[in-house]
Subunit: 308 residues, 2 copies
Amino acid sequence: MSPTSIAIVGVGKIARDQHVPALRGNAAFSLDAVASRNASLEGVAHFRDTQTLLDERPDIQAVSLCAPPQVRYRQACAAIAAGKHVMLEKPPGATLSEVEDLRAQAERAGVTLFATWHSRYAAAVAQARDWLRERHVTAVEVQWKEDVRRWHPGQEWIWEAGGLGVFDPGINALSIITAILPEAFFLTQGELAVPANRQGPIAATLAFSDRRGAAIRAEFDWRQTGPQTWDIHVETDAGPLALTQGGSCLTLGDDVVLEGGDVEYPGLYARFAELIARGESDVDVAPLRHVADAFLLGKRVEVEAFHE
Amino acid sequence: MSPTSIAIVGVGKIARDQHVPALRGNAAFSLDAVASRNASLEGVAHFRDTQTLLDERPDIQAVSLCAPPQVRYRQACAAIAAGKHVMLEKPPGATLSEVEDLRAQAERAGVTLFATWHSRYAAAVAQARDWLRERHVTAVEVQWKEDVRRWHPGQEWIWEAGGLGVFDPGINALSIITAILPEAFFLTQGELAVPANRQGPIAATLAFSDRRGAAIRAEFDWRQTGPQTWDIHVETDAGPLALTQGGSCLTLGDDVVLEGGDVEYPGLYARFAELIARGESDVDVAPLRHVADAFLLGKRVEVEAFHE
């Protein structure tokens, strides 16, 4: 089969660091164009915006949208209307409602829409999910703690309304637990710590449950200096499971059974190729829905002002 | 056909004022039991909680859950597990995620789940929807302004996290516009005015759009004394439509074409009977999703403390 001709829209850090290498390593795709206001990519056709790309390159079959969520809806609408398959960086939109509309549009147009959650493709996630499938989960403890100054230097927008605050990394943890836990769960209580000078929370403590009454807790914190923590601990009727280092390391009981490298974006594009081949879409809003639930139900507590 | 044997769970003001009279006026139902910790209903069997009701009255075929959303999930799970059809007062849950889970449970159990939005059954809503179906909507202006002291005296919980604040009435407006507008829409900008001493907003200004770029604005305000306003004005390519008085009055251009009475709850139970007869569910979370989007994307602005 000839490769799917694909374009990247939004050539920023995530596109350069992850999308371009992943695409170049996948024979199912041919990276034939980019659209970006300011940035270009050597050896690849460049267009200044999505509409120009769509107008001038009818041969492009798929687009990968890497621009921030605030502008993604219009880009996705245009691409779907032009009959392209569409892949969305996370989170898939600024609101849940716009993502529902994109899902409906893609279905009507008969194209593939893939709302990606890159952390779900971390090395050990699939094995953790498979192991948990038949287990009874009694408790879950999520620790997602990192230093915002280190990972988001100068990114003022993450603090603004719609920027999600500490849920920007936290949604990665939510994307993993919504994939691996065998039962659906929902927030029962939440506390959002919001700096006095910001809109977005710098930390969050969340308590979820499921229909069997599991105690699922998550701690997101952007104030962690020193070692960084992206760990999930699950208690089950068959003993404990630990999924650590952002989902790349799996421990069952005391045994480290898998310690993998960074395979997230290659995994995303393998999945996108599979979806296109099958004529299917994959639009799971569950992680963003949990974040919206946390903003809806969570109690906001003012904490000291944050200055970078 | 013999009437469906139904029980009400949660005998508070809304049950007495609306559900009981609507049920007694509908020959498709027989109100045979209530479950409520403190309240009972003359001439109707009383149980102290949902589980006791379900255990002792296997003949009951349907339950209508009128207790606050915080406790509704557990009640609904128990009723679905017992094979009952379930009707939920608005909003259908404290989180979007729990409602998704209830939807999945009802589907597996093969029972009807009806997440109600009573304002959608106001007298003129169906006619407004039908008239707008083939129209091109260019602008919408929602004014939902009432006096919280008059409508929610002493209800401290509506101000707490999860209580929705001014979105408690505002969600009624959202339930109407999601039903009547021909295109899906989504929030693009929002401002939530939150009293210094409260968690929930006392007012909100929301800007939505749709894929055709309509300008949809909503003003929710709980500080309105004097005349109360529950009005929706829609501009279309065929002239203006006004749906006023909470959805009971329809004006096309300058002509008042319908001015109806209060028919909301009779309409809800007629719909519930129809769903049961057809073996279908109706779980549209769109209004609650818009509220969650507003909490997610909206900018919070502190306003003066509210004291009742």
